[in-house]
Amino acid sequence: MELLLIVLLGLLYAAGVYMILRRSMVKLLLGIMLLGSGTNILIFLLGGITKGKPPVIDENAKLFQDVFADPIPQSLILTAIVISFGLTAFAIVLLKRVYALVNSDDLDDLNTPEEEDI
């Protein structure tokens, strides 16, 4: 399981970095999203994976007597997913507006000279 996640993590990061380095705006956005997913899996992986042991205490016991899954990485990932959802939604709208104004998907075209209407 760990090995699989590590490979997936590497793939996501590599693909994300590759996409960010492309010149297209849409690919930039996809790259950022892939990097974000890679980070989430990284947190999950480094939090330690415990299979089938939820952190619920037995009714009779007062303490945890077994190895149990750490709930914190999952809550961190959940928060990060929600945040990146919001950011991505905003970014998509922004890129759409920019595309409508500039009429190009190339990041190098985003250099309109100084406008004075501020």
Binding site: I32, T39, I43, L46, L87, L110
Partner: protein
């Protein structure tokens, strides 16, 4: 000491933002709520500041979960000082934007978002939990995205793409760092981390994590190889927005670097050299950029980059005197940089342009306003006894003691170029006559008196704060002395959060 009032500066902005959302599209009501809310926020910040100054570090456990298990908010002297400065700058910008912004932007929710931004800033300064810091950073960047794009002009949106991409990338780096840090220590509480990090076997992994944090915060605070987004986006939004960004957003990055590298990571020689190199190049590239720009706000953007280098250099040396220099500069920089962008807004109102080639003759027409602005410019350059002068003494002194002569040279170049560009700007904008072929569009003259006052008053308030910092330097230095003591010796911070250690 536990105190629930720590969060008051955060909540006041949350409440005023919500109230403004209720008064959607009623711009007059929103303006009153905004100015009132910022004023209350300032009062609460002063109250919190005096409390912490007199009683020492205050903490608050969210939902009463004991540290290190729950989220903890900590108000130490550095945090409350920055909260106080944020509130002062926020109050001034709030007054300025009540008249210096066109109505269209207000209709689409400028004021609520502005208060969400201030809430995020205050939260970031007060939190004692590294993941919570990440969440506050996200609150800050999402509000700043909206502020940056509000209005929807082409140049604005183009600047926003660069700004958005780099800031999301910075957050990803930061989150990756947090993930690794949690993996190797199993805690997120900053005070707890500072204990646990020393017990980690594999110290190389700690070094790598530190680099992730450095890159993440480096993008946010605009240091040398990572600053390109700043000059290409900060000149696009309206001046009131640019003032908040220029004064406060990059400084959160600096705050985070100071906090993380004083509390969690111990600076080793490699990181120190790295930071020092970054500082030197930041100063020089920022200065070179400022030299060639003719648009005032682009020039100011490069000056922000240049002066970030001064602070990073102080952090790199990491001794008591160097930190005093850094924090004194931070205090000075927040006030002055906010004011610079407000001044750019005033100049635009007076002349309808921000291009130095099309400006001129302001001193002749408005000598009083010009003198007020001159005071701020002198302070930025660092003419004694104004506020820009004192931090440089400490930075120079410590750089000489540690024999960092390259940094000394960079400091001299940075200060000299700042003086040169400001002198150039003064003669071009204020002294020179208006060029013959340029038609002046004076939006300031037809305004009613009350709106004129509202435009100039915030510049005046911030100028008085600058003057106070400069003339009352002894008190400020005593404060900064205490702050850097807390940063060098983190024991009181850790004890305040976790209780007495055995």
């Amino acid at each position: 000491m536990i105190d629930n009032h720590i969060l008051a500066p955060v909540f006041i902005h949350l409440f005023s933002a919500i109230l403004q959302l209720v008064a959607w599209r009623k711009t007059v009501t929103q303006r009153f709520i905004s100015v009132g809310g910022s004023f209350l926020g300032l009062m609460l910040a002063i109250r919190l500041f005096t409390k912490v100054y007199n009683n020492g570090i205050l903490t608050m456990n969210a939902a009463n979960w004991e540290a290190p298990f729950g989220i903890v908010f900590v108000a130490d002297l550095l945090s409350v000082t920055l909260v106080l400065l944020t509130s002062i700058a926020g109050f001034a910008v709030s007054i300025f934007s009540s008249t210096g912004l066109n109505r269209q932007r207000m209709l689409y929710g400028y004021f609520p978002i502005f208060h969400f931004l201030l809430m995020g800033l205050n939260g970031a300064f007060l939190t004692g939990d590294i993941f919570n810091l990440y969440v506050w950073f996200e609150v800050i960047i999402i509000s700043s995205f909206v502020l940056m794009t509000l209005g929807g002009r082409k140049a604005q949106l183009e600047g926003a793409v660069k700004y958005m991409a780099m800031n999301i990338l910075a957050s990803t780096f930061f989150l990756t760092g947090i993930g690794i840090l949690y993996g190797i220590t199993g805690t997120l509480n900053m005070a707890d981390l500072s204990i646990k990090i020393t017990q980690v076997q594999n110290q190389y992994l700690v070094g790598i994590t530190a680099c992730f944090f450095l890159i993440g915060f480096g993008i946010k605070s605009a240091v040398f190889p990572l600053y390109y987004w700043l000059p290409s986006s900060y000149h696009t939004p309206p001046s009131a927005v640019a003032a908040t960004f220029g004064g406060l957003l990059t400084k959160v990055g600096i705050y985070a670097i100071i906090r993380v590298f004083s509390l969690i990571f111990v600076l080793d020689t490699f990181t120190q050299n790295l930071l020092m190199g970054m500082a030197i190049f930041t100063i020089i590239t920022g200065a070179l950029g400022a030299l060639i720009k003719t648009n005032i706000r682009r020039l100011f953007s490069y000056l922000i980059v240049c002066h970030i280098g001064f602070m990073i250099g102080g952090i790199a040396m990491f001794t008591k005197i160097a930190l005093m220099g850094t924090i004194l500069y931070l205090i000075h920089d927040i006030v002055v940089k906010t004011n610079m962008f407000l001044i750019a807004g005033v100049i635009r109102q007076l002349r309808g342009s921000m291009d130095m080639n099309k400006l001129g003759g302001i001193y002749k027409e408005y000598p009083k306003i010009s003198l007020l602005i001159a005071l701020v410019l002198f302070s930025l350059v660092g003419i004694p006894p104004l506020s820009g002068f004192w931090p440089k003494i400490y930075l120079f002194q410590e750089a000489f003691t540690q024999q960092q002569y390259v940094f000394v040279a960079a400091l001299i170049i940075g200060s000299f170029v700042t003086m040169y560009v400001i002198a150039k700007m003064w003669s071009e904008v204020f002294w020179k006559d208006v060029p013959k072929d340029v038609e002046v569009e004076n939006k300031f003259e037809p305004l009613p008196l009350i709106r004129k006052i509202l435009l100039i008053l915030p510049v005046g308030i911030l100028a008085i704060v600058t003057l106070y910092i400069g003339l009352n330097a002894e008190t400020i230095v005593q404060l900064v002395d205490k702050i850097s003591d807390q940063l060098i010796n983190t024991q009181p911070y850790v004890e305040a959060v976790l209780g007495k250690q055995n």
